[in-house]
Symmetry: C2
Subunit: 499 residues, 2 copies
Amino acid sequence: MLTDTIKAFKEYQKKMAAYHYAAGVMYVDGTTAAPASSYKARGAALKELSGISYQLSVSQELRDMLKELMEHKDELDFVTMREAEEMTESLERMSKIPQEEFVAYSVLTSESEHIWAKAKNTNDYAAFRPYLEKIIETKRRFSGYTDPGVPVMDALLDHYEKGLNTKILDEYFANVKEKLVPIILAIGKKGQKPEYPFMNAYYPIEKQREFSQYLMDVLTIDKERCQMAETEHPYTSGLNLDDVRLTTHFYEDSFTNNMFTMIHEGGHAIYELGSDRSLADSSLAGGAAMSIHESQSRFFENMIGRSKEFCEFVFPKLCELFPEQLLGYTANDLYLAVNRAEPSLIRIEADELTYSLHIMVRYELEKQLIEGSLSTYDLPEAWNAKMKEYLGVDVPDDAHGVLQDVHWGGGMIGYFPSYSLGSAYAAQMYACMEKDIDVSSSVRKGDLKPIIDWLGERIHKHGQLYKPGEIIEKACGGEFDPKFYCDYLAKKYSEIYEL
Amino acid sequence: MLTDTIKAFKEYQKKMAAYHYAAGVMYVDGTTAAPASSYKARGAALKELSGISYQLSVSQELRDMLKELMEHKDELDFVTMREAEEMTESLERMSKIPQEEFVAYSVLTSESEHIWAKAKNTNDYAAFRPYLEKIIETKRRFSGYTDPGVPVMDALLDHYEKGLNTKILDEYFANVKEKLVPIILAIGKKGQKPEYPFMNAYYPIEKQREFSQYLMDVLTIDKERCQMAETEHPYTSGLNLDDVRLTTHFYEDSFTNNMFTMIHEGGHAIYELGSDRSLADSSLAGGAAMSIHESQSRFFENMIGRSKEFCEFVFPKLCELFPEQLLGYTANDLYLAVNRAEPSLIRIEADELTYSLHIMVRYELEKQLIEGSLSTYDLPEAWNAKMKEYLGVDVPDDAHGVLQDVHWGGGMIGYFPSYSLGSAYAAQMYACMEKDIDVSSSVRKGDLKPIIDWLGERIHKHGQLYKPGEIIEKACGGEFDPKFYCDYLAKKYSEIYEL
């Protein structure tokens, strides 16, 4: 009976979700609370769990259920049909990867992230390199299994966003480069604004923690379902519709680092928390694609968080927490200080304007690494050269260069472009949103609810019910066009720098 | 081949340890970092994992291995022999409990702890009662499976310490009551010492956190292998020889609460971290029995932490962290303040002298609950009556009464006596230790290493290689005798109260 199969299929998804949850908690714990020496025990446990997850993903039981469901596709409700569709595709991919290799890869990336954190702290690229090498080898091998005949980099990009490939991205980045570099050059000619000393005053961590909690409230994040923690490299993890974790990192000599991390990760969290309740136990809860996820985080971080209106709204609260540090400054100083466009070393500290050049560096290098035209031994040198070429900066050491991001160490190759695409999607959504609601005056009041509701209706509530392209159409009022992103940045920075 | 079986047996234990680790991490996460709404997802994941753990514990594969090993018992090395012995006993117990009931019980206690925390916060015993009822029913049912014909309470006590029963405990408590009550009465007659206002000054949490880290260092706890977190009810969890978690709770109007929690939990952590490296992947790593665990935590908390010498050692550090709060006070004031003997409401805040009466209340009530002579509906009233009878205090509400401890909510019935027995073991160990090393002068210098080494050699390094009774013999220089505990308390409190 089809109804019995549907019921069994739903139970099966709950079972898969249970292992996903357990592994997710171990990941979060490993990056937040666990002592350093725990990594072996965690690796062993993850190995067991990913073994089971693999078996569940490719089992004959699932295969049989999916076959029956797909044969009766027209009789299924939309959610079940999409679940079956996505899981069939995933099963077909997964069953091409031998289980022991899949499990070994989970263990590798878990260890590799641990080694990366140590390597970054001690500026020791050599310690991390063999792990990166193994990850690249594995990516190539897996791609050979799942997408034979497809260039590896295209397969990896498609994995993070269906339909994306190097041709599209090369064009996109050429476009962005063409439009943004003249603005960056014009700012260079015009002369930089003065630095604001308050940006590097002493900001006690305890007060920053309080500010983080305040920002979660402003972002209307439900703390019954979402909690904050601290990690080396911030991230958000949607373990379950009722359990989302976001992390931040505190620096005593900067409050803006944590501030924009919180708003960025808050954007991810809002998306994860926003799936419709009917998807709670479905494999379709959560974000539809990495780039759409990044559109949400970058939208909140930049379009909202770095707007003049948000600076005006949040400044009194900052003065309450840091009265001495901000004495004599205004909300407009904050706005100018957090929108300084200046080539720099660290991606997550980069301004909106130069940000996509950081992504270009990573995208071009990972493409070369995957294609084999660059060796992991030569990577730091290549990194430093590209940073000099595109951003004009000298990289002092690998900790501030190639080791700065966790992504490659965690096996996320082909992920970086999502950040830039996400920013571009966000700009287009922003333009579309402004037709419906008065964004500026909402932000000035600190009332983000109308904005979050607008995004919720068009993006969040659907989870993975629609494909990335369909979501973009819904939220951007048409096909993706990088013009909105370039226009947005040109307008904002022309104004700030009086170009 | 026996050697093949031994190898497979070791691998099998590693596999079991992996599931134990994953479940342990979820437990720790659930009590520390997870958002409140996560409990359902965690319950579902724990259900899956405990299902596998159950299967691993009773599988035919394990049964076959153990049978072969036990047939060649004389040819095995000591560690393997003891592993086989303990696991055979556990398999025999476990296989008597139907899997679905075992799994349901894991889910029940996970949910019940969550409900308990809410009930305590809102003083709502009625919300917690049905869970307690189910736990008691399950305990009785399981005991019928595993120990038919044995009184349930005896079976539960034996579970926490092999050989313990109500007869032994009834005698022990009668003894303790007979010796300690006269001292408590004498103090009552003599008149109480004045209270110290500094005990309830304002102590910022951030400074207390710093003090906690300092105490971990004094206790020589390796932070690479052990990390601290915060929970409603503090505990220590040895997830692995390289991953031990201890938790504390901060109150702004007391620094001693956290101080003695840290030293108490630190004692547990030292024990968990102290297993010999050769037991790292063995099922025999960790504490030998709950009462021996408590002997370590109570030893550090009371014999060390509440000693005059430790107060002298730690006072300068406290003055550095809390200069205004402690202005005008001395180390001797601290000593007297933390050793006030006065009947009170909360077990974990009780002084050393009246502590065992708190345990008696719980032991007598849980015995009645298990035997069926007391209903969960009547429990709060019975609790309040006993607190009045033994300690002379009026319980204002259930949050400060029957809801104060997590244990029953977590299914730990028959556990409380371990605390009192542990204190009594600790006193006997202390007397024995003093023959070998100059405890007082070590403590005065804040050099706990000789003390920890002494315990390590006699107790910690053995893990569960020996049975509780054998460990007591090793560490106490003879059979257990409650006389040492009563003498220790009589001497300490006669001196403080000049009796």
